[in-house]
């Protein structure tokens, strides 16, 4: 069985079990390892990708359900919001172990693409599905504000 969709801007056909979670199709079939496995139940956000621009947990998204849709992974981030987020991540030295950060960057980017000037409450609401066991949360919050400022300038 094959599924065709737009992956990081390119039409892509993956030959895999249509029930396979998108996470594993991306990692093991498409060869894109930036998206991480953390819980398999949409509880931690490590697997976050953009599905038609919306932050989506790929670990519970069957491959078949993305047919004809647009999937963006950390490898394919291009938007100015994404670049601002990644620059802020480095400027504020956000990552520790780094494992959850692909998902954090994807969620933060999706937030800023929708809401260019988020409040702390907006950030809590958009980011509380992304767990960081190193608890880099304060820096993530600050980095989102930094990216938001940079985008205004």
């Amino acid at each position: 069985m094959s599924t065709t969709f737009t992956l990081n801007g390119k039409s892509t056909t993956l030959d895999a079990d249509p029930a396979m979670p998108l996470l594993w199709a991306l990692r093991e079939v498409a060869g894109l390892p930036g998206t991480k496995y953390g819980c398999g139940m949409a509880l931690c956000g490590a697997c976050t990708v953009h599905l038609d621009g919306k932050a989506t947990r790929s670990c519970v998204t069957p491959l078949s359900s993305v047919a004809g849709r647009k999937v963006t992974t950390i490898e394919g981030l291009q938007s100015k919001q994404a670049k601002a987020v990644q620059a802020a991540w480095i400027e504020l030295q956000v990552p520790q172990c780094g494992y959850c950060q692909s998902g954090q960057v994807m969620s933060a980017t999706a937030l800023l693409e929708k809401n260019p000037v988020p409040t702390d409450a907006d950030i809590d609401s958009a980011m509380s599905g992304n767990i960081c066991r190193c608890a880099t949360y304060s820096r993530i919050r600050a980095a989102i504000h930094t990216a938001s400022q940079a985008l205004k300038a």
Binding site: A16, D17, M20, P21, W24, R27, E28, V29, G31, P33, G34, T35, K36, Y37, G38, C39, G40, M41, L43, C44, A46, T73, I74, E75, L77, Q86, W89, I90, Q93, V94, P95, Q96, C97, G98, Y99, C100, Q101, S102, V105, I123, D124, S125, M127, S128, G129, N130, I131, C132, R133, C134, A135, T136, Y137, S138, R139, I140, R141
Partner: protein
Amino acid sequence: MTTQTHSARGSRRTFLKGAGGASVMALTIGFEWIGSVRRAGAAAALESGAPFAPNAFLRIGADNSVTVIAKHLEMGQGSYTGIATIVAEELDADWSQVRVESAPADAKRYGNLAMGGVQGTGGSSAMANSWNQLREAGAKARAMLLAAAANDWHVPVSELSISNGVVSHSATNTRAKFGSLVKTAAALPVPDQVTLKDPKDFKLIGRKAARVDAAAKSDGTAQFTLDVVFPGMLVALLKRPPLFGATVKSFDAAAASAVPGVLKVVQVPRGVAVIAKNFWAAKQGRDALQIEWDDSKAEKRSSTELMEEYRRLADQPALSARKEGDAERALRDATRKVTASYEFPYLAHAPMEPLDAVVKLSANSCEIWAGDQFQTVDQANAARVAGLDPQQVSIHTLYAGGSFGRRANPGSDYIVEAVSIAKANGADGTPIKLQWTREDDIHGGRYRPMYFHKLEAGLDARGQLTAWRHVIVGQSIIADTPFAAMIKDGIDATSVEGAANIAYAIPNIAVDLSTTKIGVPVLWWRVVGSSHTTFAVEAFIDEVAHAAGEDGFTFRRKLLDHHPRLKGVLELAADKAGWSSGPLPAGRGRGIAVTEAFNSYVAQVAEVSVDKDGHVKVDRVVCAVDCGTAINPDIVAAQMEGGIGFGLGAARFGAITLKDGRVEQDNFNNYRVLRMSEMPKVEVHIVPSTEAPTGVGEPGVAPVGPAVANAIFAATGRRMHVLPFPKAGDA
């Protein structure tokens, strides 16, 4: 921007290719420890593709790149950046040219000097044990580069200067980057003695050098074990028994084998493994496995029963971990007695990257890729299972997606599983990745042990603290492991650290330990013993201060005259938090706690708000830390912030509970950890110091629980005697 060699597949070769020429000259320097004798390593000129001298901490390429070889795991704590900073400082290297590469498993060259030579990362010792070793490695290389320039330019060494990766001779206006000096330097003898920098001349240490891994960890390119791929690699999932201590009685692999992509189902000592072409097939295959377990030797008790037993044991005779004066008599004579008990659950580490390892096993070699925290222990355990000599086992240490102690376990559980699966698969050299799921992680044991603490204190007529009696009941982390030799007179120091060494000036102290034997595997968990002892001591001293009618800060401060560094952080945290401004308005509270862990001193002041329904919000934590020389103050701050989040999550939500021996939690839905909306504002204040560096990865975890508990008391009058804290409405 600095970069890091994070390839699982021969970053060294990549480096050589990157260096471009047919011939790469490199200067290597290092020190070999043989007992207490230190021997300088050989410097060597190297041909492309040839192996490098084996005892190196540092390699300088003709392309000016400086590669620092890290003997410690990078699991988020910043070890790679810290290690590189120390070397680059003494070398006067250009920070943008510094790369970090992980060391192979070799205790002789890369042993942790704080762990009796075992190669491993833990006890917040990465900087402390490397400090002199790496300063010397950098300084000797620097001396050799200067000697090389003097030789090449025919000028006296005394006329040369070196800075930011460039050697200069001002009189002749001659300058050279390191790369051009490597060939000459490599042929020079390694100096026996070298003068280290005066700390006032530090240019990197004490500054905020950028993390070597920040960029790769912001764009998804950092490589974890999860990301290791080899042609033909298979993925294995292991079905482990639902009860600790159970074993496989029989199994039916028919349904599992019928799943497309499943190649083999094999029994190994820890259970039954499904080996498949990919994760999804292995997972479906494992879900379809039918296994009958032999529970006859399994632990079948519930955690409530265990705690009941612990409470009983707290009143029975126990072994003495510390005895000064006569606490029993002083308690009898006390004008006022305070008693309390504290209960601590099992805790899972739950690092974001579930345990995983890639093993390539053949008849005479075993290659392992993992976020390996205990290289030479894992090497020995893998060799034993594979039937090989330890020298035949090589380990490639990759970034670990967190660990918090989990990846350093004396039995090397996940490594041994992976090797045993590769062996059962035929040891034919096929790379196999063992992947734990999150449920495997939560169910998998090696928890922070459950503990019961009982405390009694006596106050005299003037309100002076005269007696302190503390009984701790719980499992030993190191009993029945190769580290059991460290148990002295029945006392496992990891059970009582933070309690037996209580710093408060109390004339009569008794700290006793009752060690239990339970069939639940346990392990060190970030900040180890202090993850529970600091809570008990700091929550109880607060109750005692209250009974004495004194403020928690003032009461503690008076008892710390002989501990200036502890007193220093206590005062700093209180000052920065505005403690002297008096209590917060109704519904809010402030609490303080202080501790020493891994030779660092940390005090924290927490501020909480509690609404009328009892919902607690931790608004702010002010942290003061004295960790000696802060090699990278920004990483010190990050470790305090992260430690506070980690400790707070455990205090508020963390618990692994057993029902008839079965773990009741499965994933992040019922093993709750801290989330973004629950993270307080954190301020970190670092005590300026020129003392040798001490740990920062763990100490910040310990004080936050009691500081918050004491703040909740200030806000509500309720004490927290059971962890995790009760949910609003529960109590």
